[in-house]
Symmetry: C2
Subunit: 148 residues, 2 copies
Amino acid sequence: MISQKAKYALRALVALAKQPPGQPTFIGDIAENENIPKKFLEQILLDLKHQGLVASRRGKAGGYGLLRPADTISFGEVLRIIDGPIAPLPCLSKIAYRRCEDCHEEASCEVRRVFAQVADVTRGVLDRTTIADAIGHRVPPYLRDAVA
Amino acid sequence: MISQKAKYALRALVALAKQPPGQPTFIGDIAENENIPKKFLEQILLDLKHQGLVASRRGKAGGYGLLRPADTISFGEVLRIIDGPIAPLPCLSKIAYRRCEDCHEEASCEVRRVFAQVADVTRGVLDRTTIADAIGHRVPPYLRDAVA
DNA sequence: ACTAACTCTACAAAGTCGATATAGTTTTAG
DNA sequence: CTAAAACTATATCGACTTTGTAGAGTTAGT
């Protein structure tokens, strides 16, 4: 399960991507339209800003907008910012590898071998699907038969 | 990330599957060999027993053994018993569906559409890979090119 | 009967999650 | 120039989950 926070972040990014670029969007508007607690969304957008995904303008006519094109922001990137590693085991994480303390030998760990496959296919979807893909109903080519 | 408990459960099942069938194995032996806290493992094996995956004999010469052949116990089944739903969103779970309270309309939810694909590929691995697959170094046919 | 093993239930320490609170800072309308 | 609207930042909180521990009971072999 992904966290509520990550779901909010993705919905907010989708909302921003649907907006005409140039003019910033109020946090309050996104919060209302998407049913997200405003103060909570403020934290989330701030995180995304610190990571360079969105930009903001302060003051009365302020607001948020995407800093990068929607087709360069993958679901995986957002999830890693908000929820941390995607890998199902610490010893399979690329961004935060940690040895499993209790496991004898990584190379021969049966459980690890199976979850390495899970990690592969999961990343295959999350790192190759962008906010733009999510909006356009287009299915990325590499997934076409999975859906059909 | 899967829980430590689920990892323990899978390692215990792998250990049981490696044992010659017929004679039960002590919890204490598994706990020691696999570096699992004994009392914690007792709870886990009890869960698995209640769900019909393993059987036990009490008394001095007691112990645990697989109740079903190792090639009929999938990783997905074990994960659902220990960690609950595999789906990345409550509205995508087969065993514990729950509507996302804050989402407008399920059918048009962009986030849901993407994670439905994640759920598909994840289940594809977890529900088709068994304890026996994990032990035998055999790669299941449907995954052969993913690994190569 | 003694002992080694499984069976239950309860509890606890620590961490996480989802959110709220509070106190700023910046910009612009008027 | 000042008040309001909007973003920034940090602290805190309650509920829940996770990862175990504890302890009392049950069963069965010798």
